[in-house]
């Protein structure tokens, strides 16, 4: 190995150690973690009451969340709901053929946020 390459490796090693020390001693590491924790996500809870299916959608992201529809065995519900960032919305959806449902079942939900479409499911 030539002398220059050895010096370059030494520069790299020192810079790497300084980077580790700087990130450990400064607020950078903890503030990165704090920021990542604050980004949040989406939580959905669903329950039946009489003939109504209630969906509580909480949006903890920094963007609008659009709820499109929910499908399950024998049910297909379409209702568009836009939930602003860091707020929640409740959907009460009337289900006419509730008697055919054998619980527990999975309800498929179609959501969209910031140009990303997601199909997720909740167990009821």
């Amino acid at each position: 190995m030539d002398k220059v390459r050895t010096i370059a490796y030494a520069v790299f090693a020192i810079a790497l150690v300084l980077a580790v020390l700087l990130s450990a001693t400064s607020d950078l590491f903890s503030s990165s973690l704090r920021q990542l924790n604050s980004l949040g996500g989406v939580s959905i809870t669903a329950f039946f009451s009489n003939h109504c299916l209630f969906l509580n959608v909480t949006n903890n992201m920094n963007t609008y969340l659009t709820f499109y529809n929910a499908t399950g065995p024998g049910i297909y519900l379409t209702r568009v709901m836009r939930i602003p960032s860091h707020s929640s919305g409740v959907l009460d959806l009337y289900v006419s053929n509730l008697s055919i449902l054998s619980r527990p079942f999975r309800l498929l939900l179609f959501l969209s946020f910031a140009g990303v479409n997601v199909t997720t499911s909740v167990k009821i």
Partner: protein, 189 residues
């Protein structure tokens, strides 16, 4: 001056490493819907989530700066060697620059072929439909059973900036530099 091309290449490499860390930091941009945006060069990275700059980028940039300093130190040393008539070059930045063109192909292979195999080994189902060589706008879809998510689809927008083409053109000087070193070494023997 016996090795003008090699000397120019070493000067360009030292300049590129420092310049792409602090000045011309965005070589390639990648956007996933309006959710995630990455602006990067080999020695700098900026991540935006929902338009919000992530501090995590600063942390990663400290480590990328270490690599930039390594390339700068190496090229500076090789400038000295070349001036002394013992020409040397490093191909690190040349290959890193070319890797940007190969990146979409690597991601295509990893996404479509390796990810489903690794996921199924971990007990998950992942089917990714990632288009070959994204250069512009493409739709990506993913079928999975991770975290109660059944499917995800989004548009991905991937494009190089003018800086990338400038630095790619400059880095192509690596090939004539190698030829110059080889030819002149043979002549002197």
């Amino acid at each position: 001056m016996r090795y003008p091309i090699t000397l120019s290449y070493n000067v360009i490499t030292a300049f590129t490493a420092i310049a792409s860390s602090f000045l011309f930091t965005s070589w390639w941009n990648l956007r996933i819907g309006s959710l995630l945006e990455l602006r990067d060069s080999p020695f700098h990275l900026a991540i935006y989530l929902s338009g919000q700059y992530l501090t995590l980028s600063e942390l990663l940039n400290l480590f990328l700066l270490a690599i930039a300093l390594y390339v700068t130190a190496l090229s500076s040393g090789y400038i000295y060697y070349t001036l002394k008539g013992r020409p040397k070059i490093t191909g690190t930045l040349f290959w890193l620059t070319l890797l940007y063109l190969l990146d979409p192909i690597i991601v295509y292979l990893v996404g479509n072929y390796f990810t489903p195999i690794i996921a199924s080994a971990l007990g998950y189902k992942v089917n990714l439909s990632y288009p070959f060589f994204i250069f512009g706008n493409q739709k990506i879809s993913l079928d999975t059973n991770i975290l109660n998510i059944n499917s995800i689809s989004f548009n991905i927008y991937s494009y190089p900036t003018l800086y990338y083409f400038i630095f790619l053109t400059l880095q192509l000087l690596y090939i004539p530099s190698r030829i110059e070193i080889h030819v002149k070494a043979r002549r002197s023997n």
